[in-house]
């Protein structure tokens, strides 16, 4: 009950933020929507299936570059088409990488995903003619449901129509993921996280499930990446860099991967905390390192763990 009430409050706040008159905070919400979707995917892989990816940023960057490529190179501005293309591209990339990665578990899986992420980073960095190299690629303002909102300036567009578009997409993504984790498929994923050997003897073809989880995570990552890059207007190679994957893992741990909503909370806190700490000190990475250490040592269940107390079991 408390959780449902909190959720409704959060949703209401989410709906009202653009009316608070503090445009800055509304713009800070935009990366939250993108990261939220990407983290739902990452958490399916880690929190539910037990595979920790250090290369999730690959898919985020993929989604960003698809948006850049479509808007600047192809002149296609319909965001729905771009999102669809992001999903397809993510699948095309996730199938071969997933087939290789899910042959391994634990640190080997992590290292392999890290390697693929860095491979993609190098590709973005080196293939200048295709990707713009270190300068990245511009992302133009897309059309939302066919509307271009030409009368609006950049900020009113972003905290107006685009804000609600992103929020709606996050809600849809969360609903889809909620269905997935409550489904028989989701149960099989959790059984694999808990004990893959036993799962196999109960007829669960572990590798196939891990592969599917990898695909789903990848396409959520790409959708998140597309949303993320529109406010900044730029897709640059650092999106694929390993530290970006690290940030995603940080957000997930901060919020608590054992909980469905944990990673969303983590993304929210990370973004607002980063904003605050960065304005206080240039050593914000130091502060964040300390926070990560404290979370891992004292709050292994993340911020969500504080709400649940001792009683909450792992979903």
């Amino acid at each position: 009950m408390i959780r449902r009430a909190l959720l409704i409050v959060a949703l209401l706040v989410g709906l009202l933020v653009p009316f608070l008159g503090r445009d800055y905070y509304a713009t800070l919400m935009l990366p939250f929507f993108g990261y939220g979707i990407a983290l739902l995917g990452l958490n399916l892989l880690f929190g539910y299936t037990g595979l920790l990816s250090f290369g999730h940023a690959l898919f985020v960057a993929l989604g960003a570059y698809v948006a850049a490529f479509f808007t600047t190179r192809l002149g296609i501005l319909h965001l729905e088409l771009i999102l669809f293309a992001s999903i397809l591209t993510a699948l095309v990339v996730a199938v071969p990488t997933g087939l290789l990665c899910v042959r391994y578990v634990k640190i080997y899986f992590g290292m392999l995903t890290l390697a693929f992420g860095m491979l993609f980073y190098s590709f973005l960095y080196k293939f200048y003619h295709l990707t713009g190299g270190d300068e990245g690629m511009r992302v133009l303002r897309p059309k939302l449901l066919g509307q271009s909102f030409e009368s609006l300036d950049k900020v009113p567009f972003l905290i107006g129509p685009y804000y609600y578009y992103s929020l709606a997409l996050l809600l849809v993504a969360a609903f889809v993921m909620w269905r997935i984790v409550r489904s028989p498929f989701g149960l099989c994923l959790r059984s694999i996280r808990e004990n893959p050997d036993k799962a196999e003897y109960l007829g669960v073809s572990v590798r196939r499930y891990r592969f599917l989880a990898f695909l789903i995570a990848g396409l959520f990552g790409a959708v998140g990446g597309t949303l993320l890059t529109i406010p900044t207007g730029l897709a640059d190679p650092l999106l694929a860099y390993w530290t970006h994957s690290g940030n995603l893992v940080f957000m997930m741990l901060l919020g608590g991967f054992a909980n469905f909503l944990g990673p969303l909370l983590g993304a929210f806190v990370f973004i607002f905390l980063q904003d605050q700490v960065m304005s206080l000190t240039e050593y914000w990475r130091f502060v964040f390192g300390a926070i990560l250490a404290i979370v891992v040592i004292f709050f292994p269940r993340g911020l969500m763990g504080l709400f649940e107390g001792q009683a909450g079991g792992r979903g």
């Binding site: 997935i180 028989p184 036993k198 073809s205």
Partner: protein, 254 residues
């Protein structure tokens, strides 16, 4: 009956130069409760691994319902109708009792890849889960995480989830190891009762506790140094001096 349910013929299994099984032949028919006994290193676990298609024998064949199952692996084995439980407690620590059993039911019904239906609303699955849980006395413990169960219940849950596959044959590796003597009989009674109700056609177990072996099996296979020393009814085994000396030991002479 035209063919045995499970049949191994002339099985030899090698680990490098070491001969773990040396020409073992064994046929298990419907309705049998077979115990495999023998001292440490006799090849019991290797035999179980061969019989369950985990280990491909160096020579010889293993057939289950007439199908060659050498090295087919656990997933196909479950689909064919053979389940296995393990010597060490083997559970999904964070999953509840109901969820643990549901994993088997979901996979047995081929629902594992349905990702849009809500598990809790799948009547067919929840009803079967409740049925199996009932047989094992878990009716009031459905919502408990497996890790919070007692040692005996954990072993029972492991077996219950294997039973939920509705297998034709089940292979149990020391179903009562690590639990108190008092609990051992409870586990065995529950297990045998559930097997009858579910319609499991044959049970094979590896067991060290000779009291359990003699009370519940109707056939005992004694292994020694990779060969079958004796294969007989409990009475036959009791009368076999050689087996009593090498396998059972004097303290257990009934």
């Amino acid at each position: 009956m035209s063919q045995p349910l499970l049949e191994a013929q002339g099985v030899r299994a090698l680990y490098g130069d070491y001969v773990a099984l040396d020409g073992v032949s064994l046929a298990v028919d419907e309705g049998q409760f077979v115990s495999i006994v023998g001292p440490n290193g006799a090849g019991k676990t290797t035999l179980v691994n061969v019989l369950t298609g985990l280990l491909r024998p160096s020579t010889g064949t293993v057939r289950f319902k007439g199908e060659n199952i050498a090295g087919i692996g656990p997933v196909k084995l479950a689909a064919l109708g053979m389940a296995r439980s393990f010597q060490l407690v083997n559970i999904f620590p964070a999953l509840t009792v109901a969820e643990t059993i549901a994993v088997a039911v979901v996979s047995q019904h081929g629902r594992g890849f349905s990702w849009w239906t809500t598990l809790a609303r799948d009547r067919q699955v929840t009803e079967r889960v409740a049925e199996v849980a009932d047989l094992f006395g878990f009716a009031t413990k459905l919502g408990l995480p497996a890790r919070t169960l007692s040692q005996g219940d954990k072993k029972l849950l492991d077996v219950a989830s294997a039973f939920a596959l509705m297998p034709h044959i089940i292979v149990l590796d020391e179903p009562t190891s690590g639990v108190s003597t008092r609990d051992k009989n409870t586990i065995m009674e529950t297990l045998v009762g559930a097997a009858k109700r579910i319609g499991i056609k044959a049970i094979i177990q590896v067991e060290h506790d000779m009291d359990i072996v003699f009370s519940y099996s109707d056939r005992i296979v004694a292994l020694h140094q990779g060969r079958i020393l004796a294969d007989s009814t409990p009475e036959g085994i009791r009368e076999n001096e050689q087996v009593v000396a090498t396998v059972i030991g004097k303290t257990h002479r009934p």
